[in-house]
């Protein structure tokens, strides 16, 4: 008898009578979404800025990053200086200083942004970069996680992730430190 057969047989013998799977109710969310999103993200150590257009994002990058730094952008409206298509292997992204991505959906309640694989080019990109910027259209903001799951097919991409802030840890005496392994900052720009 294989382990699979043994495990399944043990379950069949030991499981209780079938109990019903509850329906998923809707949980309506009616706050001011951009304002609530900003609160949600800052709670996780990120920063949210509402801007009029991509030129304000460019100005922010100019102010905070140097030309000589390695900037990868997957947004057409905000250029970077390293073409990610040139990197065949994710290890070539080791020295990326800033990654600029376009988010798919944002969650006002907790600041999370859904990023399916096609928005990342390399799965490693939003983790290996020293800093992360995500652009999100305001009309892609939803209230809570339920609303996002109702709209996405998690199985369509081979990988997808809700990112809700920079890399952080509190493993030393519960002191919050931003920049554990991945990005030392996460800035989300909300655009019209």
């Amino acid at each position: 008898m294989s382990s699979k057969e043994r495990i399944l047989a043990a379950i069949q013998q030991n499981k209780p009578d079938l109990l019903p799977l509850p329906e998923q109710p809707e949980f309506p969310y009616d706050s001011d979404l951009p304002a609530q999103y900003a609160i949600g993200l800052s709670g996780n150590g990120g920063k949210c800025l509402e801007v009029g257009g991509p030129e304000e994002v460019l100005a922010f990058i100019k102010e905070h990053f140097r030309e000589s730094q390695m900037i990868v952008s997957l947004s057409e409206s905000v250029p970077g200086n390293f073409n990610v298509a040139m990197a065949e292997d994710p290890h070539e992204l080791e020295h990326v200083d800033l990654a600029i991505l376009e988010g798919d959906w944002g969650v006002a309640e907790n600041g999370a942004i859904w990023l399916p694989e096609e928005k990342l080019h390399h799965r490693a990109l939003p983790f290996i970069a020293q800093h992360l910027i995500v652009l999100l259209k305001k009309d892609r903001l939803l209230g809570n996680m339920h609303e996002v799951y109702a709209r996405i097919d998690v199985q369509a991409p081979g990988y997808g992730v809700f990112i809700a802030g920079p890399s952080k840890t509190a493993d030393i005496e519960q002191s919050l430190i931003i920049g554990a392994h991945g990005p030392r900052s996460m800035t989300v720009f909300l655009l019209d």
């Binding site: 399944l8 907790n110 997808g160």
Partner: protein, 458 residues
């Protein structure tokens, strides 16, 4: 083999350092308070808990069908699914994968299951250098310890000690204990490990039956740094970790982090469905006693656990005795109902490490009746375990006194008299466990009954 110390004896060791035990107590209570604030922000919090509990009830009652559905979909996605009846088989699967793929360097993110299976020791014995990448886990790995908390593995250590550990292993400055500085040192050290790893091992927070994928949650991003750079991803999952539908994740992800630390969600919630092009993804489904626990009607519910650690943070015993006193991979209240199912003899004192106050059940996001199960394990252990003479005679004596009002009055009078005239050493000694760290209340001059007789006409 030396028998495991009782919980009380191990707790006594921890309590010797009163500064540390007070800090531990207060820090975890602070985490519990953050959980309350966070939960209260969600108007439908209680409804979410009920739904999560019902979903897990369904999963346990339909586990065979859901596992087969999960396996079929995961396989179609290109994930190789393996089954392991116990820890040994799980470890052997991992070893075989590493050997087949000629893996030399491997990184690991947090997985309570691999702790349960003793994977690190097993692989180290075979000559592998297993690098834990969660900061807390790396600290205790350097220190040759196991996690003392499932969410905060190094919560038993102070920053001075961590500074000394890093000085020894990472060459940080002697005496340096600034958390920012130490974390940066670990970041630089672990980044090199990520870059050079051939395989990454992760745990699984949720497996999704209908899509054949799985979710891993971290705040550090270490699971992702590992898996997206390495050629091989090995995910280790207990068979009870399934949810039927992707939409169920909305409920569980809203509950998990708020219950664990009070944050609204973990910063990284990764959904894996297919390996990267040309790379490999393995998923090991592990039983290791879970199907047995499924057959115990009174204790079945413990399998609903999503490993948030809320019951530990709230437990007055855990907070004051630390995780090590439980001598079990999962400590605290939930560990005290899971571990006796694995080895009743070894863990027979754990269900007694509780005040049965019920706070654990109140904060549990999947509504496990933890304190009721603790009480039920006590009954099992008392029936099956070795007789405890002192408890037996005390109970018999108590029963006699309580059932005879005159004897009760007499004993009360004698106790009041003798307690007020006895020298201190006669009352506070090794026979009085209660009085070890506590003073008895002041002895009243008369019983309530006498007082009432005198005052009832006023």
């Amino acid at each position: 083999m030396k028998p495991a110390p009782t919980h009380a004896a191990a707790a006594e060791e921890f309590l010797k350092d009163s500064e540390r035990s007070h800090w531990h107590d207060e820090t975890l209570w602070h985490v519990r308070s953050k959980r309350d604030v966070s939960a209260q922000k969600i108007p439908e919090w209680e409804q979410l808990r009920t739904l999560a509990s019902q979903i897990k009830d369904h999963v346990l009652s339909n586990l065979d069908t859901l596992l087969l559905q999960f396996e079929k979909n995961a396989t179609a996605n290109g994930i190789e699914v393996l089954w392991a009846k116990d820890a040994q088989e799980h470890n052997e699967h991992v070893l075989r994968i590493l050997e087949e793929n000629q893996v030399k360097q491997l990184v690991k993110s947090k997985s309570i299951l691999t702790e349960e299976c003793g994977l690190n020791h097993f692989l180290e014995d075979k000559g592998y250098d297993v690098v834990d990448t969660d900061l807390g886990e790396r600290i205790i790995q350097f220190n040759k310890q196991v996690p003392s908390h499932i969410v905060m593995p190094a919560i038993h250590l102070k920053k001075k000690e961590i500074g000394a550990i890093f000085h020894k292993h990472l060459g940080t400055e002697e005496g340096a204990d600034d958390p920012q500085y130490l974390t940066e040192a670990a970041r630089q050290h672990l980044r090199q490990k990520f870059i050079h790893a051939h395989a990454a091992i992760t745990g699984v927070n949720f497996g999704i039956a209908e899509t054949g994928g799985f979710v891993v949650c971290t705040n550090e991003g270490n699971a992702d740094m590992g898996t997206h750079l390495a050629d091989i991803h090995i995910a280790c999952m207990g068979i009870e970790k399934l949810v039927p539908r992707a939409a169920d994740l909305g409920i569980f992800l809203r509950l998990l982090a708020r219950s664990a630390t009070g944050q609204s969600i973990t910063n990284y919630n990764s959904h894996f469905h297919r390996p990267r092009n040309g790379k490999k993804m393995y998923l090991i489904l592990v039983d290791n006693g879970r199907t047995k626990q499924l057959g115990r009607e009174d204790f079945r519910n413990s399998l609903k656990c999503i490993r948030c650690g809320a019951c530990m943070n709230t437990c007055p015993i855990y907070r004051r005795s630390s995780g090590f006193s439980y001598n079990s991979t999962v400590p605290g209240p939930i560990g005290s109902i899971l571990s006796p199912g694995m080895d009743l003899k070894k863990h027979s004192t754990l269900p007694f490490a509780s005040t049965l106050c019920g706070s654990c059940s109140d904060v549990c996001p999947v509504k496990i009746n933890i304190h009721e199960q603790l009480y039920k394990w006590r009954q099992v252990i008392t029936k099956e375990g070795p007789p405890q003479a002192s408890k037996k005679w005390a109970m018999r004596f108590g029963g006699q006194v309580m059932s005879k009002p005159r004897l009760f009055d007499l004993m009360g009078k004698m106790a009041r008299k003798s307690l007020s005239i006895s020298p201190r050493g006669f009352v506070y000694n090794s026979f009085n466990a209660w009085g070890k760290h506590r003073e008895l209340p002041e002895v009243p001059k008369e019983s309530f009954k006498d007082w009432y007789k005198k005052n009832r006409n006023q």
